[in-house]
Amino acid sequence: MHTDFLKKEFEKYSDITALIFGETSYSYKSLLENINFRKENLSQNYGIGSGTTAALEGDFSFNSISIFLALAELGCITVPLNYGNRKNRNELLEISKPEIVISVNENDQVDITNNDDYNRHELIEILRKRKHPGLILFSSGTSGKPKAAVHDFTGLLKKFETKREAYITLNFLLFDHWGGLNTLFHTLSNGGTVVTVSERTPDYICSLIERHRVELLPSSPTFLNLLLISEAYKRHDLSSLKIISYGTEPMSESTLKSLNKIFAGVKFRQTYGLIEVGVLRTRSKEDGSLWLKLGGEGFDVRVSENVLEIKSDSAILGYLNYPAPFTSDGYFITGDYAETDGEYYRIIGRKSDLINIGGEKVFPAEIENVIRDIENVAEVQVYGEKNPITGNIICANVSLIRPEDKVKFRSRLKKFCRERLQEFKIPTKINIVESINVSERFKKKHIQN
């Protein structure tokens, strides 16, 4: 019922390839059949129906996608989790308390376990009363416990009723975040082809692009930087690419410049999405610009005290385990600092990343942008470290392309920065490291002070 519009589209696309999983291609017809089969099986053999809370562990695969859609159609409240997340799986299950756990392993085999838990949280009860499917997503907060964000899934699905262009798309972003799911729904609702990914290294990703003539690569700035450093693009034919989208963290101007040069003819599209409000439509001021228009139908955007606030039809009902994150007039406080120029916005960084040096404030990204332009620098991460004299000092972890004398490199870095940055923004401590820590989401890992 809730996904009727999608199923109608799937019937139309019939023999077109919906999904490539490993060596196998699946048509829209077979996807539709599998959704129906899974739906019957879940409801008849497991008593799953409207209002059931179900965790679905997996990555993008034929069965996980089919089950995901079957759960939505049945009106379930789904908690997508990454298969193989051993780190905090139990914590996430503890917070979301699903009645049933469905696991889809890397070979696409399905395993279902019933839990004794029954979740009576008031937000879940709201969804049950509405008889709407729900979605619980975890926001990887920089501190403390993950926040369980509860969506009315019908709100998120609505935008896919509008037709857009479809592409052969690499599902690079992960299964348990709206970024990855948004890519999936966008591609399937428009008759595109989803190419699933089992490994997220630059060379493997490039080999998939070459092999399946991928047109759209959704990614993150950190991954794109790794792609540049690895030079994997030189070893594969990537001429099928039309669009590379990036989001999830601020992009550096220098990386974007290099990318535009190497991938001439490819459009770089910045996306802006948050688990709490969904993905906003964006339009860059011009090619290669980090300024963008944000919003579109169903979104209202404003900046209050430099922080971006968003009101959205598809916003979450709230968190299971935290207070509601809205202003009194219903705007979600993003925590992202933004500059405005007329109707354009530029996202500068997380408010929590701001470093305060003797009262002067700076975002790591500004300094990273400069350092990344220095010859022989592979990757850089800037952070603040407490210091009794100035409150904080600026530190930079830098990985190099070729080995270089530490003392000489530090001196070179400072000199370079001096010509381009105000004095207080020049890193005081410079550590040369083997590599910069990257999370499983291809975002730089936070350095705790």
Binding site: I357, I389, T390, S411, K414, E423, T428, K429
Partner: protein, 103 residues
Amino acid sequence: MLSEEEIIKTIYGAMEEINDQLSGENKLVLSHETVLYGLNSRLDSLGLVNLIVEVEQRFQDEHGLEIDLTDEKALSQKSSPFRTVKTLSGYISSLSDNTGKSA
């Protein structure tokens, strides 16, 4: 244990690096009596912090000696280690002695 000469040499190295960042009249003179921070000093707080961290990193790189010049001990000395090059050298010498003994 480091000799005074070695310690001074490393401090001078750090001062030369910092001098690169300073304008002509503010440059630090490489001498034992140069005032680092206090009356008539040429460094502001940011300059001092930069010098301190540069010294720390150089002792680590050149001598494998890990020192913290802004811990409670350093900041609670009766007379500040950062008064002159000589006092700083003396303070580092006492730290390297202690490190030597405890090792």
